[in-house]
Subunit: 333 residues, 2 copies
Amino acid sequence: MDDMRKIYDIIGIGNAIVDVISHESDDFIERHGLIKDSMALVDEETATGLYNDMHPAIQTSGGSAANTMAGIASLGGSAAYIGKVRNDHLGDLFAHDIEASGVDYLVDPATIGLPTARSMVLVTPDGARTMSTFLGASSTLYPHDIDAENISTAEYLYCEGYIWDVEITKEAIRLAMSIAKEANKKVCFTLSDSFCVHRHRQEWLELVAGPVDILFANKDEICALSGYESFDKAINWIRGQVGIACLTEAENGSTIVTADETIKVEAFPVDKVVDSTGAGDLYAAGFLHGLIKGHDLETCGKIGSLVAAKVVAQTGARFQTSLSEIVSNVFNL
Amino acid sequence: MDDMRKIYDIIGIGNAIVDVISHESDDFIERHGLIKDSMALVDEETATGLYNDMHPAIQTSGGSAANTMAGIASLGGSAAYIGKVRNDHLGDLFAHDIEASGVDYLVDPATIGLPTARSMVLVTPDGARTMSTFLGASSTLYPHDIDAENISTAEYLYCEGYIWDVEITKEAIRLAMSIAKEANKKVCFTLSDSFCVHRHRQEWLELVAGPVDILFANKDEICALSGYESFDKAINWIRGQVGIACLTEAENGSTIVTADETIKVEAFPVDKVVDSTGAGDLYAAGFLHGLIKGHDLETCGKIGSLVAAKVVAQTGARFQTSLSEIVSNVFNL
């Protein structure tokens, strides 16, 4: 019996990745045969080849669910993270940053095997980000890395779709979902990327019909999953399949869909989109922070929009200043 | 005979450092016994201890002379750099960034010994930066690393004062200066930091009376070197000792001092100082770019002010976008 065990508001699971971010032209994206604004998986050699051709870059922690957990902690929530790094320089960097954000990191680094994951993030002048990700050590998250005790007591489990790209990590995340459901906790899922949706559509259709309570997706992703080209049709299709669906449309705001409500939330104004990396991740952080604090869905959506607007006005997906101040300056919460 | 040998506009020598930048409170600076807005040398353990207490950070290339060379290359000049890293992750990062800026990196990484240098850069809410630097591999720049052929043909040699903190690297830089002088090239020197001036005052008095043609210093540094508390007295003291002295005063602009002229240049307006890291380095880049292009001293100072204003409006000392565009948008050069 451990009386001191912490009960988290939320635990996130995802690929633990360091972002290597540079600003490049549209021509660069084309020359390397990349698909703008999407994520492609690459091997280490391809990542290095791309890096060698990139402009001076900054290296900073990333990873979709990790960005969301860091955001929630920065907003004042108690968050933990499950994802795997190697005990190398980038692994130390990732572990430092997630812990320094106030997130408890529940997984030890691997001491053998692949190096820590990195994603070459190419930001074009329009602020879009195109990612080439070498999964490295993050692809070695095993079912035994899943912390059953913590997951069964946390109010929310947050899982990213990206992790579906590796068979073994998929198994880990399925285990985590079943633990959360058994303990009557809420399972959140983000569709991550429309190409990722296409790769896993059949399994994800079962997920949204099954364990997922709260779904995050952008317009392209929900259209890809539903099979409808029309966003309105996709909205009607998802309604009632999950308790809450948060569907984002960049500068056109978001739509929150429940069985009997459709709430349209406007985007928070942004002077200039510097780098859209983390927009969806931070929207989810703001929305879930609102839910954790017991706010109504519209307020949750507004917090999500504000935090997303702040992240796209900077380079990278992590904040160096406190989000709770930013939110309390705007809302009277 | 090598007909293909490149002749550089400028070659910089300095400590090859990766900056680890986070935003911290004034209280943090005080708690760690640091002196705000200055650079302290620390051992690896102290650097790691500080890092463990820091907020999430970004890692990006730094090093004073390296920042200046990257700036000059970004402005369209042909620049090379001499400074030592180790063949580790941070060394790869540094080498990538300097080459990606268009600077030729003339020194191979060390394959044994200390790891690549890193500086914990703490940015306080006023934008001041306080640095704790572990010199690591950068302190192993030997005289045999000095590329005599390139230095004897480059129009300018640019040396940072920071490198004076290690006996062996000081020897290397003295050798470089003597090669440049013998070839009738211009020697530029930056005083780097007022504490650094105090550590090496006697030798630097000899340098400015001797080989240095163009001197860069801020107000505190030139006052420390001259021994005068009054900036005006320091200006009169340095006049004629070096061909050109560029003396910066942050938001109060800069003063360019020659034997018979004193030119006051206003600072370029900045909305908000985000991080003053690299302000002096980039002022020097802009000024020297102007000289290389044959502009008059006032124009050189204005370019320096503009580029310095751009660097303090962002985090870190390296630019991800082309400086030549920024300059040609403001000046009709």
